[in-house]
Structures are given as structure tokens and as C-alpha cells.
Assembly symmetry: C2
Homo-oligomer: 384 residues x 2
């Protein structure tokens, strides 16, 4: 297989883009990535998206976006879906296509447009990430599933709600310096503590906001790239699954698919947790930050919050996470999120993050979670 | 890249399976394919599906099906979507994953469950294959789009409605002998002519029925397979796109993406139209049969119906098509259809088709169309 490089990235601001269409958002990110890569065409287009069929009444996004950005014809174009991990799943499909030799250049774009809807329609659409027959159709919303996990975690390991505050505070602090973030405001511990309850114990500051947006990257084989600045290599790419329903898991507090995909990505990249300079994790809810840190070997079981409380997750800490705001403050346009994470890791490795630049970052990791942990993809990127 | 072989196939009957769930249907086809391949596990699962998010309130089918069939854990599992071409798009993703060396064995399953719904909900869901902003939201249903194309075709080339009858008669005649087909009844020219109008000039006999069903195949590298009967090789695999909306095309009567994908598949397989022994084409509507035959080089422009009128498309004809009933009579469970086509071509190459067996079939082709031609994939399979 050929080694794969990322030579261009692009993104839109995550926001309420009511005046813009799905194709327009995808197009902006795609054209920015092509310009950044200094290319006009690619052989393939992989679109990560979860909800366009339900919320935008539009399927067949491969053809739609290919046509809109001027790529139609002899181009491979499909949509890849794995709930909230759709972005990373599309990224991995693109990597495999280039690695295989089947395609010589690929664009991956994650796109989602979800804010110009009635809130209950969005909640209902998001519930399709859970097990329809055994979870969502029984009335459990997606936030409620995460609330059950968080409550159990607090009970098992003796944490208080306030112990999760540093995750949200860190995310917001970093988003202040990210012009593409939806919530560019800092929050205090007070803000966290007094935020209104969404689904006990998850309050508004534990939950990431949805959003409209698109993020894209251009992938090519490393061979043939010479003397090019800012090239980033794909050092590890892995996907794993778990039961879709939380109640079917042996241990609902262990992200088995995060463990498996991270382990394989580490092996491929020949690195371990101690080598990761920056980690864009899937903080859809603050409890997921803790579980992700534990499954990936950054903290002992039940000790994820300790890392945050000890100040280790900040830009100058041992393991900077959510350096551009994470899902919590950059925003969570679900099918696009995985590609925002990739773009952000690339920005760190290219030293383009200004005040939230992690000094000397050479190896970055992105982890994207679909459902409550049913599908998890881990990618490790390296500075060339 | 490694050459890829199909070593196992499985399918459910296309029917109204109201008593069975989406995962149950997918599981039946997957387990049948694994049994046929004499394997217990695979490294990857690619699910082709178009409408589960809308109609079944379920996304994340990769994790769902992987868990249900006992494959969860270290398995790559995603859903691939390209409207009605989702099945072939998933198949192509699986091929690339095996060809690349990334995965050593892959299951591809197309699945759709769509009959236990209100008909207008299904019509609305199917319209997501068209351009939402410029076609479906203007009130044009998917069958209406095809009716516009058929009317224009009849006008341009001087055909009468009755001239399309042989396509439907052939499909139904073949489905009589296919136990997995939804409509196992023969029809006469009279039946065709007096069928009620759906969207002028498309009547009920021009239109394929929807259905619930799943079809699957197991893919592995050819290397290492020795002395095994019934192995089928993937000789060509290509995907191409066109504008999503019909009105944007230079010529609405030319399936440009069929032409491009077929041309590349022919080149890869080092064959031409004259070498194809059996062709499973995408007869969602009879007009699509004509356009597909023309774009793939089997008929001159505007002369698709001639092939059918001359009796060339029957089992003993020059180019047998829809040998197991096609979309028209086997049924069209949209996201599964592309995999039914693959399974049926494999059955022909393995000489398992009984009364509709094409004598000495060695090379078969399957073509799957997404939308009104926005995404088209062509696959060529060869007897090992």
C-alpha cells in the first residue's frame, strides 16, 4: 500500500447558516481545500454526512457535491455514513482509495446542515444514531443515553458533576482563538455550574451544540511529493465497532471500539499514547471526553476527569485536547465533525494555530465516535 | 493492487417482510454469504443502503449489522450511500479495501426495508435521490422525472409506448424461475398495454416495484485461493457521476455516467460490449433499460428498444438482460438492488440459474444507477 499525505485543508465556520444550502457549504470547504493544495481536480470525492436524507431531503451527496464543485464525470463520488463518525469514516475510505493505488487523489468532505429545523425534529434525527428498535423507539433520546452513562460513571468512580467542568472550560478557552468555531466565548467554572439542566446530570455546558458546516482535506500518495512545505502524513487509520445499544455492552463505561481502533492506529504509526502531542477527541458530551481518554491509554479507568482537573489538557499541558474548541465550542455539525478534527490536527502540525498552537507538535490524533460508541475511528497524523 | 474474488453470496427473497427487521434481513443475507464462502469472520463490512435513516429511523448500519451477525470488535463497518446505486457503491468500497491490502476479507451487504410505510412517505423518501432544491422540492416525483425522460425519448426517436413492452415481458418471464424474486409471474403484451398509468407515459408495467430485502457477497484476494470451485473474479469496477438534476444535462437522453463507468470497466477487464455474456442492468423504469443499453455500447443512440423488439435480450438472445427478473420483477429494494445484481451475475457465472441459465456464461456485467443517472457504477465479473 502507498503512504498517504494530506496536502490541503478547508473549512467553513460552524454556525447557523440558514441562508446557505448543503451543497454551498460543502463547496466552500472543498474549494478551499483544493486551493490550499494548489490542485484543480481529484479522482475521487468521499462525502461524510449523517442526516441529509432526513433533514435536508437530499441523498446522493456524492453526485450532488461533485457536480457543484465542478468535478462531475470520471470521478468516484459517494457518501459514507457512520452516524456522528461519518466524517472520519469518509476520511478512512479516502485513505484506503489512495493507499490502494485505485485513485491518485481524493477529496474528503464532511458536511452537515441541521440548524434550520424544529428542535424536536433534530433530536429525533440524532436518535437514529442509537438502536432504533431497542433504544430510541423506547423514548430514550441521544442525550438521555449519554446522561445514563455519565450518572453511572459518577456513581461507580465517585466523581461529582463539577469535576467535569475543566473539559468544557478548556474547550471554550481554545475556541476563543478559532475563527471557525461556533462559540468563540470563554466560560467560567461558575457558568458551568449554573448552566441549566438538559438531561440530568448533563447540563448545557456538558453538551456540544449542533451546527451547520463543512470541512475538507485533499489526499494524495506521498511518493512524488518533494520539497513541499506543510505536508502531513497519515500514520495510522483504524475503525472498530461495539454494540450499537449501550445496555448490550459488558461494561457501559468502557469504549471498547475506542480502545481497539486506537490500539491499531498506535501500532500502525509505531507510537504510543506518550508520543501524542495533540488529541482532538469526540467531546459530544463531557463524559465522552473522560471515556475516550481512558480507552486510548491516557488515563486509568475511571480517572479521565483527573487529567482535566490537573490541568494536563490545556495547550501547555501534557496532552492538549480540543485545541480549536472541540465539539463543545467549535460545534458539532455531526457528519462533518470528524473532518473538522482532521483539519484541526493538520493545522496544529502545520503550526497555524496562533494562540492555541501546541509548541513543537509533530504527532496528532483524532478520534470520532458514532452513536454512543458503536463505531469509533482513530487517526494518527504526523508532520512530514 | 491485489485482484479480488467473490467466494460467497447470499440473498433474501425480495418481498413485503413486515414481520422482519432491517438487521434481520441483512443478517440472513450475510450469514448465507458467509456459509456459502465457508468462512466465519471477515475484516470489514460495507453496508449499501439508501433510506434507513428516513424510513426505519436507523443510521449507523455498519455497527448495527456487524453486531447482529457476530462481527463486532476489530471490524471496519460503514454504510455507503449513493441513492439507488448504494449497493454497487458499497461493493466498490469493499473491492478497494481488499485490493489495497488494507483488509483481507470483506462482506458487502445491500439492504433496504421500505414496504411497511405509507406510500406517500416512500415516494417522498425516494425523491431524495433527485435534486432536492431544483427537482423534488418543486413537486417532481422520481417517477415523474423518469416519465419526462421517456416522453422526450419517444418524441425524439419516434417510438411508441408499446415498443417498450418486451423489456417488462422479458423481466417477468425470467423472474418466474427465480425463487428470490418478488413478482414470480409472467406477463403478456396485453397485460403491459392495459396496465394503469402511473405517470404518463410510464404505466405500472414500466415501473419496478419497491421491496424489502438484502443481498450479500464475500470478497477476498485471489492469491491463496487454489482449487476452489465457483470462484468469480472482479475484472472491472468503475464509478462515474453526472449532474444530479436532469434539466442540467446537455442531453437528458444520454446516460453519461453509464458511458464513462462502462468504458473504464471494459478497459480494466480488457473486454468490449461484444464479450459480455449476461448483463444485469438497472431497469427501475423501462426507459432506463434502453438508455443503459445505448450508453454501454450495445445499441446505437435511440435504438435501445430495437434490441428488445428483436428478441436479443432473452436468455438465448445476443445479450441476455435481467436474467433473474431485473428490478422490474425481482423487485427494487433500492439500496440493496446493486448487490442483488452482483449476486445474480455470480449465479450465472456459477451456472446456478436453472431454466434461466445463460449457456456458457463466462463474463457478466452489472450496472447500478443512482438518481436519474447522477451516479452510475459498472462492474464486470469473470469466471475464474
Amino acid at each position: 500500500m502507498r503512504q498517504v499525505a494530506i496536502i490541503g485543508i478547508g473549512q467553513t465556520k460552524v454556525d447557523e447558516h440558514w441562508e446557505r444550502s448543503l451543497r454551498d457549504l460543502a463547496g466552500e470547504a472543498v474549494l478551499a481545500a483544493l486551493a490550499d493544495a494548489n490542485r484543480e481536480r481529484v479522482d475521487g470525492l468521499y462525502v461524510g454526512n449523517m442526516l441529509s436524507g432526513i433533514l435536508d431531503h437530499q441523498n446522493n451527496l456524492g453526485a450532488l457535491v461533485a457536480d457543484w464543485v465542478g468535478l462531475r464525470g470520471d470521478v468516484d463520488a459517494v457518501k459514507v455514513e457512520a452516524a456522528c463518525a461519518s466524517g472520519a469514516a469518509a476520511f478512512r475510505s479516502g485513505i484506503i482509495a489512495v493507499a490502494s493505488g485505485e485513485l491518485d487523489s481524493v477529496l474528503v468532505v464532511g458536511v452537515e446542515k441541521m440548524t434550520d429545523q424544529r428542535p424536536h425534529d433534530v433530536a429525533s434525527a440524532l436518535a437514529t444514531a442509537a438502536d432504533s428498535d431497542y433504544e430510541s423507539d423506547q423514548g430514550v433520546s441521544f442525550v438521555a443515553l449519554n446522561a445514563l452513562i455519565m450518572r453511572r460513571y459518577m456513581h461507580e468512580y465517585g466523581w461529582q458533576h463539577a469535576d467535569f467542568a475543566p473539559f468544557s472550560i478548556n474547550a471554550h478557552a481554545n475556541a476563543v482563538h478559532n475563527p471557525w468555531a461556533r462559540l468563540q466565548n470563554a466560560i467560567t467554572r461558575e457558568d458551568y455550574l449554573r448552566a441549566y439542566m438538559v438531561s440530568d446530570p448533563i447540563n448545557l455546558m456538558d453538551a456540544s451544540p449542533i451546527g451547520d458546516g463543512a470541512a475538507a482535506a485533499v489526499l494524495v500518495p506521498v511518493d512524488g511529493l518533494t520539497g513541499r512545505d506543510g505536508t502531513v502524513l497519515v500514520a495510522g487509520s483504524a475503525s472498530a465497532t461495539d454494540t450499537l445499544s449501550v445496555h448490550s455492552r459488558r461494561d457501559p463505561l468502557w469504549l471498547s471500539a475506542a480502545y481497539h481502533s486506537a490500539k491499531r492506529a498506535y501500532d500502525q504509526a509505531a507510537v504510543g499514547p506518550e508520543d501524542i502531542d495533540v488529541f482532538e477527541l469526540h467531546d459530544a458530551f463531557s463524559i465522552m471526553s473522560a471515556l475516550s481518554l481512558e480507552a486510548c491509554g491516557f488515563a486509568e479507568r475511571g480517572q479521565g476527569p483527573r487529567l482535566a482537573l490537573d490541568g494536563e489538557i490545556g495547550i501547555t499541558g501534557r496532552l492538549p485536547i480540543c485545541t480549536r474548541g472541540g465539539l463543545k465550542a467549535r460545534g458539532h455539525p455531526v457528519g462533518a465533525t470528524g473532518m473538522y478534527q482532521v483539519v484541526e490536527v493538520v493545522q496544529q502540525l502545520r503550526s497555524e494555530c496562533g494562540q492555541t498552537q501546541v509548541d513543537g507538535a509533530r504527532i496528532g490524533m483524532a478520534q470520532n465516535i458514532g452513536g454512543s460508541g458503536g463505531t469509533i475511528l482513530t487517526h494518527i497524523l504526523k508532520k512530514a
